[in-house]
C-alpha cells in the first residue's frame, strides 16, 4: 500500500486515470473510508500518509475499512484477523492471505488511488 511520492512535480494530469477518493481532510488519522466499487476499496489515513487496499477481508467477507485501525494495522471486526496497512500482509490468523494494496497519491488536498492494475470489476464506477 505504498504511498506514491507526491512531490511538487506531480500534477493532476499525471493522475487522470487514478480513482478520485475525495478530500484528504475528510478522513481522520487512524480512520478509513470505503470506496463504493465492486469489490470495494478501503482508503486509510495513517500518521505518515494515505494507503489503500481491497476492503474485503481475505478470511471471509467483511469490510476492513470498518475495522479497528491502530499502529499501522487494521483489525477485521468479524474474527479479528490483523493486517499491515502499509504492506497488506496478514499478521494474525484466521487470515492467511495478504490483502491487495494500491498506490495512493495526494495532490492539492485530494486523495487518488491507482486502481489501474486491478482485476476486480470497476466498470460500473468508470461509467458513473
Amino acid at each position: 500500500m505504498t504511498m506514491t511520492d507526491t512531490d511538487a512535480t506531480t500534477t493532476i494530469e499525471d493522475l487522470t486515470d487514478w480513482y478520485d477518493a475525495g478530500p484528504a481532510d475528510e478522513i481522520d488519522v487512524d480512520a478509513a473510508v470505503v470506496l463504493p466499487l465492486r469489490p470495494p476499496v478501503a482508503v486509510y489515513h495513517l500518521d505518515d500518509g494515505f494507503y489503500a487496499s481491497d476492503d474485503t477481508c481475505t478470511h471471509s467477507e467483511y469490510s476492513l475499512g470498518e475495522g479497528w485501525i491502530e499502529d499501522g494495522t487494521v483489525e477485521c471486526e468479524l474474527h479479528a484477523a490483523k493486517f499491515d496497512i502499509r504492506t497488506g500482509e496478514a499478521l494474525t490468523l484466521p487470515a492467511t492471505d495478504a490483502v491487495v494494496t494500491y498506490p495512493v497519491a495526494v495532490v492539492d488536498g485530494n486523495v487518488y488511488v491507482d486502481l489501474r492494475g486491478r482485476t476486480g470489476c470497476i466498470v460500473d464506477q468508470l461509467r458513473g
Partner: protein, 413 residues
C-alpha cells in the same frame, strides 16, 4: 554445540502459532511440530458453520501448508505417546523419538464423553475434527431430523447450520438455559429465543436417556420419557482437555494443564498453550480454561516467548465469537459479577445491540449481537481501565471507538 530442539505436540492453532512465533522471535534451533491428524493445521471454527453449509472445505481452512520457508519440521499423522521426563524424549506412535530441549504441549481437547446407550450407532456424531465435519455435512444437506445433545456454542452452531439447510432440529439441554455457563442466564436465554424464532425446537432442563435404532439411529429417548424421531444426532456436551501426556510427566493438572500467565507448567522445560490449559483469568482472580480461537493464538505467542526466555507479548481481554444464523455473537472480558448492565441498542426488539457489563464505573465485559465495533471499543476501554459514563455507553451518537482511542492516545507515553 548441537542445535537446540524445541518440540511442539499438537499441530493445530496453538501449536502452529507457537512454532511460527519461535521463528519470528529469532529462535535458530530445530522446531519439530507433531500432529496426530493427517492434515496440515486448519481452522476449526468453520467446522460447525461454513463446512456444514458446504461453502468451505479443507483447502480454505488450511492455516499453513508451506514449511520450508519457516523451517518448521512438520510431522503429520503421528501421535506423541509419551514424553519421558528425564531425557525429555518425545516418543511418537511410529516409534520415532525426538530428544528435546523444550517441549510445548498444545494438545487441545476431545469431545467430552457421555455415558449413553446407542452412542456407537451410525448417524451419531461428535464434532471436533474436520473429518467429522466433512462426513456430517452431506448428511445434513439431505434435510432430515437432527437432535443436538447439548446446548453449548458448538451445539447451537450445528443447530443453526442444520436449520438453515432445512433440517428439523431439536436441541436437548440438561440445564434450564443454554450457554448459561459462558453468557449467564439472560444472554443464554436471548440466544435460545433466537433459535426458537427461527424454528429450532429446544428441550431445556431435560437429559437424554438413550439413543436407539436398528442398524442406524432412529430415535432419541429423553429422561422424561419423550421420544424424538431422529435421523442424525450430534453430541456436543463440551470438551475434555487432552492432559494425558502432562499427567504422564507428573505436571499439575486441574481441568486442564495448569500454567502461569507465561504459559509455564510445573516443569521448567515444559510449556502448554491453547484449549488444553487452565491459566490465570484476565482479571487474575481465578484459574480458567479459555476455549477460544483468540486464546489459542495469543497464548501460543506467550508460550514461544517464555520458551526463549523473552518478554511476553501483551494480552488482550478474552474474546470469543460465535456465528449462528444471521447473528454474529461476540463476548469479551468478564460478564459475571456485574454491578450494572447497560444495553446500547434494543435487545428486546431486534438483533443488533451491545450490552456493557459494568463493575463500578469500568467496563468489565461486553456481550453483543451484530455489533463487533462496540465489542472492540469495549475491549479497549477494559484495557485502559478508565471510567465511562452510562450516558456515553447508551448514546448511539457517541462513537465508542473514538472514545476508546482518545483514551488510548492519552495514555501513550
Amino acid at each position: 554445540m548441537s542445535r537446540q530442539v524445541f518440540t511442539i505436540v499438537g499441530a493445530s492453532l496453538a501449536g502452529l502459532r507457537a512454532a511460527e512465533a519461535l521463528r519470528s522471535r529469532g529462535f535458530d534451533g530445530r522446531v519439530v511440530l507433531v500432529g496426530e491428524e493427517r492434515h496440515a493445521p486448519y481452522e476449526r471454527p468453520p467446522l460447525s458453520k461454513g463446512v456444514l453449509h458446504g461453502t468451505v472445505g479443507l483447502a480454505e481452512l488450511t492455516l499453513r501448508d508451506a514449511w520450508d520457508d519457516v523451517e518448521i519440521e512438520f510431522v503429520p499423522g503421528d501421535r506423541v505417546v509419551e514424553v519421558v521426563a528425564a531425557e525429555r524424549d518425545v516418543v511418537l506412535a511410529s516409534g520415532r523419538r525426538v530428544r528435546s530441549d523444550q517441549v510445548l504441549l498444545a494438545t487441545g481437547g476431545r469431545p467430552r464423553d457421555v455415558d449413553l446407550p446407542g452412542l456407537d450407532l451410525p448417524g451419531v456424531f461428535t464434532l471436533r475434527d474436520i473429518d467429522e465435519a466433512l462426513e456430517l455435512a452431506p448428511l445434513l444437506a439431505q434435510g432430515g431430523r437432527l437432535v443436538v445433545i447439548g446446548g453449548g456454542f458448538i451445539g447451537l452452531e450445528v443447530a443453526a447450520s442444520a436449520r438453515m439447510l432445512g433440517c428439523e432440529v431439536t436441541v436437548v439441554e440438561a440445564a434450564t438455559v443454554p450457554l448459561a455457563r459462558g453468557l449467564g442466564p439472560e444472554w443464554g436465554g436471548y440466544v435460545a429465543e433466537q433459535h426458537l424464532e427461527r424454528g429450532v425446537r429446544i428441550g431445556m432442563g431435560v437429559g437424554v436417556r438413550a439413543l436407539r435404532g436398528s442398524g442406524h439411529l432412529q430415535e432419541v429417548e429423553l429422561e422424561d420419557g419423550t421420544v424424538l424421531q431422529a435421523d442424525l444426532a450430534v453430541v456436543g456436551v463440551g470438551m475434555t482437555p487432552r492432559t494425558e501426556l502432562a499427567e504422564g510427566l507428573g505436571l499439575r493438572t486441574d481441568g486442564g494443564i495448569v500454567v502461569d500467565a507465561r504459559a509455564r507448567t510445573s516443569n521448567s522445560h515444559v510449556f502448554a498453550a491453547g484449549d488444553v490449559t487452565v491459566q490465570p483469568s484476565w482479571s487474575g482472580d481465578r484459574m480458567v480454561r479459555y476455549e477460544s480461537f483468540q486464546n489459542a493464538q495469543d497464548q501460543a505467542a506467550v508460550a514461544a516467548a517464555a520458551m526463549l526466555d523473552q518478554e511476553p507479548p501483551r494480552r488482550e481481554p478474552p474474546w470469543f465469537w460465535s456465528d449462528q444464523f444471521d447473528l454474529n455473537i461476540q463476548t469479551a472480558g468478564e460478564l459475571g459479577g456485574a454491578d450494572e448492565v447497560i444495553v446500547r441498542g434494543d435487545h428486546r426488539a431486534g438483533t443488533s445491540f451491545a450490552a456493557f457489563h459494568l463493575q463500578g464505573d469500568r467496563v468489565a465485559g461486553v456481550f453483543a449481537v451484530n455489533r463487533p465495533k462496540e465489542v472492540r471499543a469495549g475491549m479497549k476501554l477494559m484495557e485502559v481501565d478508565l471510567p465511562v459514563t452510562v450516558d456515553e455507553l447508551i448514546d448511539e451518537s457517541v462513537d465508542l471507538r473514538r472514545l476508546a482511542k482518545k483514551v488510548v492516545a492519552h495514555r501513550r507515553p
